[in-house]
Symmetry: C3
Subunit: 268 residues, 3 copies
């Protein structure tokens, strides 16, 4: 039987995998803290001279181009190639893709010079990486969902990767099967770093489950359930963020089973 979201969280708490990050400087603390909060061990290291060594003690590699520089992306490539050799999953948060030419180029370089196992972004970021243009404003949510799933599936097949589009409903696909995760809370959009943390959590779940689309979907379920629980007792974005960490820390099977909203798309 397929493991559920909480089963994977339990594996993380037992195995305490090391998750190596080259992430952005804005949210680096929160990325580390969220990984620690769910029971794993974050390592942030970006020196060109040590990333190949550091990735050898890791069980997953999380890359995020949010505050990229040329040198930093070179270190990402070395780390990703090391992860590829070791056979651990690499997740790339294409943070800000579409905002500048540099970001677009560097995303494509990373995708072509290393194997990226999971590509994660919001709608417009993933659309940009896929080379397609998608109207992301003024489009009805239900309508978009179908288009986005198709977009994600196409990119997944093209890149032979799992693709995650985060949003009001998250889409996760490996090109063969597709999940839609409806957990989460609107308050997440008022907190800087919730997207970056999603990538870190997905990377951590991918460290303990070979089926990467399942791992990513389960990660988003746990994250979203904790966010819903946190929102119910918060009075603004800062207390929400604090409660989100505390709720993730205490997440239990009964809560996850009761609150999870995950579905396979029809035909998937």
């Amino acid at each position: 039987m397929r493991p559920g979201a909480f089963d994977l969280l339990e594996r993380i708490r037992q195995q305490k995998p090391v998750i190596h990050h080259l992430t952005n400087w804005v949210t680096i603390y929160d990325c580390a803290q969220v990984v620690k909060t769910i029971g794993a061990s974050p390592v942030m290291a970006h020196a060109l001279e040590e990333v190949a060594d550091m990735v050898q003690i890791a069980s997953a590699l999380v890359l995020n181009i949010g505050t990229l520089t040329i040198d930093f992306v070179e270190a990402m490539k070395i780390a990703a190639q090391g992860a590829n050799k070791k056979g651990i999953p690499v997740i790339l948060d294409v943070c800000g893709a579409g905002a500048t030419g540099l970001r677009d180029r560097k995303c494509l370089e990373l995708l072509s010079e290393a194997r990226i196992d999971i590509i994660k972004g919001n709608t417009s970021e993933v659309a940009r990486v896929s080379g397609e243009s998608v109207r992301t404003k003024g489009v009805d949510a239900t309508e978009v969902q179908g288009d986005l799933a198709a977009l994600a599936e196409k990119l997944a097949k093209q890149r032979q990767a799992t693709v995650v589009i985060t949003g009001k409903e998250d889409i996760v696909t490996d090109g063969k099967k597709t999940f839609v995760v409806a957990n989460g809370h609107g308050m997440m959009t008022s907190v800087v770093g919730t997207g970056c943390m999603a990538a870190s959590i997905i990377g951590t779940f991918a460290a303990v489950e070979r089926d990467l689309s399942l791992a990513a979907a389960c990660a988003l379920v746990c994250y979203g359930v904790a966010a819903e629980a946190a929102a119910s007792k918060s009075s603004g974005p800062a207390s929400f963020k604090q409660n989100l960490f505390d709720c993730l820390y205490h997440l239990d099977r009964a809560t996850v089973d009761r609150m999870q909203r995950i579905a396979g798309l029809a035909g998937s």
Copy 2:
């Protein structure tokens, strides 16, 4: 009629301007979060190769030399020149001016190689940038205030910029009119980053109002009112900081109108 502090906050919530930052690594998260909390959209990007592109999607540029390096200041210059061309306001937090020769030199370079629309610092920082020496210790607050306003007005005229001196009472001047904002709370001095966040908030208000001294004064009113509201329910600097964000998020017209303490200086 001149818009009030809450009117500008409402504009921010409606227009959701993008605020591009090249800020310091200590408080970068809080700068981003405070901009998001008041309803705008922060972007942090510093690569020499992309700052000119990124500033094109922004409505204001916030610079902060708190953890400067040579390369970082070069990126600031490119971003500021791009902002100048686009016609969006540039705010410079002269964080730590006076502490080292490097900081003094780099402040002056930034001021001479790009148009800085708002210069912001505490008493000794602004004094240093203005090239004057000011005794900032052991001087009675009331006495200092007059001197400081004169200092700020002189620098404003010299640099044709708006000058903001933060402190127990904040002084804002464009050299023609001068505001004194008495909002705020002593607990702010126990939280790292409250000065940096002030610059980010001022930048965000400047994105929606062409009268930059009015924008800066209104920004400091909203920030200070939220700080007072937060302090009344806090038990230390960390809970104060959390409450500050939550109070900023929920700030409403009645609260701002009731609590604001802003005055034009006599003769201004």
Copy 3:
């Protein structure tokens, strides 16, 4: 009579020493905030061109290799040499020593090219720096303690430095006298940055007391007492962290005297 832990905290609150950091990018905010919370004044500055100037206004220098790069360590060396000349204490957090060859080499370079007054790390980090191999897994806590104290004392004599090993019980030694601090709380291991903050607090106490092993032990007492007080009212790692700051801010003599658990090792 030897000053107690709270006596040193009082000195900090009165003298407000400036503590210069070259620390890691993950926890830089928390390092600054914890220093400010106990009443001192943090300065974070790492540019090669200004560290020698900045350290001149400081009363202690805190180095942390958590996110080291080659250039960053070069700046650390310049800062440390400046601190040595000025005669202020230098504390090195050997964060991640043992994880990669780069970290081991750079720790040794720092130890040989400048005088490091306090070496601080967890068990395996300090063991690595001392050049010994220590089994740190599956060993009973009581058994380890004896070995660790011996390890610390040997390194202290070899490097003529104070050595701090943090853990369930913290060991502090200058090679002549050895303290064991039993304060602290298990929740600290669920919060990223508690180790880095310990180094910052130790550095701050070292700024006001020449007996560095006493300063470090007193620092860990105050930190640990605040952690215990915070844990008793927290519902997870994020609320714990907030309460930790608030409790540190309000720490008073009665609480420290009542809760402190510090001992000199037999024969020390």
